[in-house]
């Protein structure tokens, strides 16, 4: 592969890393960073507990709450070293460690557990679990990664929708949602011509809207990914894994 010129950034530089902020001294920034981490990771963490550790629903809910509460109170994430692992791997290891300790101590997983309750939609996650079908029990790490990507994309889509509504570009989002987000099982995705008829737009405008929305979606995902990465190297690797292609 051809080397890039010195100084050329392959990916955009955006907001400061959430991973750094969550361990920083600024309480407000730490709180915002923590909220972002919870938004992205709570669902993968919950499903990880349900599928890898085979916890009952209530126990998994309690331990998810306890994990994030302890992480905030006891500064789990301050111990993260980007040179040793990806942040995602580190977070999952912390979760596994906490779960193993909880079992070893033979402490019953008390509902509530004294932890502050975060507004997490566990019922929705259970529905997701049912929709996803039988878990890939042979590879819980892959499941954690898959759920993390899903969370990342879902948050990016939400962000894109809000951005479009705020800037009077709802049609762009609607075309994108109709083309790329609607479930596809059992029927093909609509063609550009069908989308043009449905939205009463020229075909060229449909392709323009889609190109814009897809580019924005990608930008938002990469911004969020950068925030969530422990290092530039981790960010580049994750970005390539998300959107790259495998050379022949």
């Amino acid at each position: 592969m051809t080397s890039l010129p010195d100084g050329t950034r392959v990916f955009p530089t955006t907001r400061p890393s959430v991973v750094e902020a969550v361990a920083g001294a600024d309480a407000d920034a730490r709180s915002r960073a923590f909220a972002t981490l919870v938004a992205v990771y709570w669902r993968p963490a919950y499903l990880h507990l349900r599928l890898k550790w085979r916890l009952e629903r209530e126990d998994a809910e309690d331990l998810t709450q306890e994990f994030f509460a302890r992480a905030m109170a006891q500064g789990f994430f301050e111990k993260y070293d980007p040179a040793r692992a990806r942040f995602r791997t580190f977070l999952r290891s912390c979760l596994d460690h906490l779960t193993a300790n909880t079992r070893r101590d033979e402490r019953r997983l008390k509902r509530g557990g004294g932890a502050a309750h975060l507004p997490l939609d566990f019922a929705g996650a259970e529905q997701d679990l049912a929709l996803a079908g039988p878990p890939a029990a042979d590879d819980p790490d892959a499941l954690f990664h898959r759920e993390w990507v899903r969370s990342l994309f879902t948050l990016a889509v939400e962000s894109l929708r809000a951005e479009c509504e705020a800037s009077g570009r709802s049609v762009r989002y609607q075309v994108f949602a109709r083309s790329d987000l609607d479930p596809v099982e059992g029927r093909p995705r609509p063609s550009y011509r069908e989308l043009a008829e449905e939205f009463e737009l020229p075909v060229t405008q449909v392709t323009n809207h889609l190109a814009w929305a897809r580019r924005e979606f990608r930008r938002v995902v990469l911004e969020r990914l950068r925030e969530l990465s422990g290092s530039e190297e981790e960010y580049r690797i994750e970005a390539r894994e998300l959107f790259g292609v495998t050379p022949p």
Binding site: F11, G124, L222, P247
Partner: protein, 320 residues
């Protein structure tokens, strides 16, 4: 938060930088590779009912500088009409503003893969074809600057194609240099100190970003490195013939002035080696010369030797 099915996640990963081509003549089928600048897709041209390759600038590189580079690559390819250069069919802009170009879909093996399956002489003949192409480019004022085995494809019928001209430099060398008609200000778009190329295949002057020293001999260094890599890859290539080692050592000399001055001279050396005659880069010891001459004229030498032995026997027997 709305549940996003696996199929939608997979679809979004695929379409986030999926090229939206104008019109419905072309259907993008699948990505088949990624280089430093662009992603290459296999596409179907519905009008002509054939498959083509579509190279699109990578989304994260969608700056004017990189767009200019890809456009420039397409123009260089279009001007270099040679069997060893992939023909370009058209260049254009996608709905999202990215530059793309369409070219012939190349099917075959990379040179390093090819070398593992053929004899030394077949591998050397392939390198000679690469030299022909590079020499043609030099005659048109173009220095490739990123020659390496993975940028050379061997087709099913033995055709040899040099790919990835993305960082080629228009050097304006040679009497018959042809202006590439590039937009003003884009004739040379690499700033001094910029390092472009691949370690192991780029000479010292390129590795330190000394742009003013980059010329035909930069490619000659790379051709020497390719020769070395390919000869090492062929079956039994772990003890290469000394003349070949001398050829690649001269091509890869640290000082540009010590290298072959032109690709044509490098080709001539390789041809001499294939023809079994002495190469200029290597002073042959007497015994090696005997062995080479014997190897080249083995049959007539054996016939003469057999004749002399028979004659001697005849004389000896008659004397008895």
């Amino acid at each position: 938060m709305t549940w996003m099915p696996d199929a939608t996640v997979a679809h979004l990963r695929r379409v986030a930088d999926w090229p939206d081509l104008p019109g419905d003549r072309l259907e993008v089928v699948e990505p088949i590779g990624q280089g430093g600048m662009g992603t290459v897709y296999r596409a179907r041209d519905r009008a002509l009912d054939r498959e083509v390759a579509l190279k699109v600038l990578r989304v994260e590189l969608s700056s004017p500088e990189w767009a200019s580079r890809l456009e420039r690559e397409a123009r260089i390819l279009a001007r270099l009409e040679h069997p060893g250069v992939v023909p370009v069919h058209e260049v254009g802009t996608l709905a999202d503003g990215r530059i793309y170009y369409l070219m012939k879909l190349v099917r075959g093996q990379r040179l390093d893969e090819f070398a593992r399956t053929v004899s030394l002489s077949e591998a050397l003949r392939a390198i000679l074809r690469v030299c022909d192409t590079v020499g043609f480019a030099h005659a048109h004022g173009v220095v490739h600057r990123d020659l390496k085995p993975s940028n050379i494809m061997i087709g099913a019928f033995g055709e040899v194609l040099v790919l990835d001209w993305g960082i080629a430099r228009v050097a304006g060398v040679g009497e018959d240099a042809v202006a590439l008609d590039l937009p003003q200000g884009r004739r040379e778009d690499t700033a001094p100190g910029t390092v472009l190329g691949t370690p192991g295949f780029m000479p010292p002057e390129q590795a330190v970003g000394a742009i003013h020293l980059v010329d035909e001999r930069t490619d000659i260094f790379a051709l020497g490195a390719i020769l070395k890599a390919v000869v090492s890859a062929v079956p039994g290539g772990d003890s290469p013939p000394r003349p070949l080692v001398a050829i690649w050592e001269r091509a890869m000399a640290a000082q540009p002035a010590a290298r072959y001055p032109t690709v044509r001279e490098l080709s001539a050396e390789l041809t001499r080696f294939l023809d079994g005659v002495p190469v200029q880069a290597y002073r042959e010891p007497f015994l090696e010369r005997i062995a080479r001459v014997y190897g080249k004229y083995q049959t007539p030498i054996l016939l003469v030797f057999a004749y002399l032995v028979m004659r001697l026997l005849f004389l000896v027997l008659r004397g008895l």
